[in-house]
């Protein structure tokens, strides 16, 4: 690091950036294979907005597809409102069930 700083005059902050070369998307890919419509997500946020259980579904799904991280859905009521408002018609409830099933198979978040 010091060598970099002295030669180029700046540091490379390793903490924040997403290293797309290193992300393991196998988990997200497996789940996408079950629920193909997920790939059409616009990230519009209607799902998170309407959720009575306070689940931030949009960001949860985004983290999963971008970072391969799997978080918990233990406040989800499975009420289905997210599916009713989704403009791309994604089967959100099924996605949630598949995610939890996979989580059980693979253990906790990566």
């Amino acid at each position: 690091m010091d060598a970099v700083k002295s030669k180029f005059g700046f540091e490379i902050n390793q903490g924040r950036h997403i290293d797309m070369d290193r992300i393991d998307t196998r988990l997200a890919d497996e789940i996408s294979a079950h629920v193909r419509s997920w790939k059409a997500c616009l990230n519009c946020g209607s799902c998170s907005a309407t959720c009575p259980g306070g689940v931030g579904l949009r960001s949860l799904l985004l983290k999963l597809s971008t970072l391969g991280e799997l978080t918990t859905l233990d406040t989800c009521l499975l009420c289905g409102k997210c599916f009713l408002v989704c403009p791309r018609g994604i089967s959100t409830r099924y996605l949630i069930i598949q995610i939890i099933k996979k989580r059980r198979e693979y253990g906790k978040a990566v």
């Binding site: 946020g45 209607s46 998170s48 907005a49 959720c51 931030g56 949009r58 403009p87 018609g89």
Partner: protein
């Protein structure tokens, strides 16, 4: 064998233009300039289409009331016969020409037809979760456009200026829940324009625009977007509104997610404006053998022809082929006129 058009032949031919909005006005005017007689049909008692309902047009905020007479003057030629208040419901091709029918039978004939039947706005009652028709202070962009020229009183509640106004983008567009998967193109810029207009009328008000993607594609659009942010302090929130409800003071509570902040939000507004998309006109004419592109009329070949597929001699222009703004509709009308002319005059 000459390359000149047979003018004598052309003189007895007639083209029917159906629709007197911007595209129809341009088509009729262009045909008349080329020396072709036009039978011009319009279901309303006036020409001009929806221009009568608009206030200021984006991006330069020219008044629609000033643009209308200009367009009309180009279509006031003597070769044009107007049939106002007439609806054509069906077109049928016969060996000798094209027959136009209304509900009770044949009402006209032509050698070529230009369809310029335009569009309808999406019925916001279909998105019931926004409460249009249920909550008093939920209106559409169409309603707002009519309220703006009236002045501040139209938007005051109980004599007081509105403190907060919200705009919802993509109502009836890009939405599988209502079966409309396309983008209506012009609602984003409409939202920006109206946000600026409201903000000018009530400088103290907070104005929020809830969008998914900001489509400011045209000339001057992006500049207007920036103006809205910088000069008028319009707050653009990237997040689609999921539902609205009413509180005790009849203000509207909006639920959305600020996706960039990754947090759900709620805000209470005095007016919620739904930016409704464009759908094919319900006074659509039935054609035999025609195809529709996502319910709009599909041209035979978008690159080379405005003719309706499978119906030679029938051309389509303007918003009946898809969402367009006024300059695009006008250009489309002129292009269709030229193609109709070509169709009539070429050797067959």
């Amino acid at each position: 064998m000459t390359n000149q058009p047979d003018i004598r032949r052309v003189d007895v031919r007639r083209v029917a233009v159906i629709g007197a909005g911007p595209a129809g006005m341009a088509a009729a005017g262009s045909l008349a300039s080329l020396g072709i007689a036009v039978d011009w049909y319009e279901k309303d008692p006036l020409t001009g289409g929806k221009l009568h309902d608009y206030y200021q047009l984006f991006p330069d905020r020219v008044r629609a009331s000033e643009v209308l007479p200009e367009l009309e003057s180009k279509s006031g030629k003597s070769l044009i016969t107007k049939y106002l208040g007439r609806t054509i419901s069906e077109i049928e091709r016969h060996p000798g020409g094209i027959v136009l029918k209304n509900g009770s039978g044949s009402c006209g004939e032509a050698d070529a037809v230009i369809l310029a039947t335009g569009f309808d706005f999406f019925d916001a009652r279909l998105k019931e979760e926004f409460g249009y028709g249920i909550y008093k202070h939920v209106i559409t962009s169409v309603d707002l456009e009519r309220m703006l020229p009236v002045g501040k009183d139209a938007l005051r509640r109980f004599g007081k200026d509105p403190a907060t106004v919200g705009f919802v983008h993509c109502v009836g567009s890009r939405d599988e829940q209502v079966g409309i998967s396309y983008c209506s193109r012009l609602c984003c810029i409409t939202g920006i324009k109206q946000a600026i207009e409201v903000s000018e009328m009530f400088p103290a008000a907070k104005v929020y625009n809830f969008y998914i993607d900001m489509r400011a594609f045209g000339q001057g659009f992006e500049e207007l977007y920036r103006k809205a942010q910088e000069e008028h302090g319009i707050r653009f929130i990237r997040g689609r509104v999921s539902e609205a409800s009413e509180d005790r003071e009849f203000r509207i509570r909006v639920k959305a997610e600020d996706t960039l902040m990754a947090r759900p939000l709620k805000v209470t507004v005095d007016w919620l404006v739904l930016l409704v998309g464009m759908t094919p006109s319900c006074t659509e004419v039935t054609l035999d053998h025609a195809e529709k592109q996502q319910e709009f009329i599909k041209p035979e070949n978008p690159l080379t022809s405005n003719a309706v597929r499978g119906m030679p001699g029938v051309f389509a222009a303007g918003c009946c082929t898809g969402p367009m703004n006024i300059p695009e509709s006008v250009a489309s009308g002129r292009a269709a006129a030229l193609q109709a002319y070509d169709y009539l005059t070429r050797d067959r």
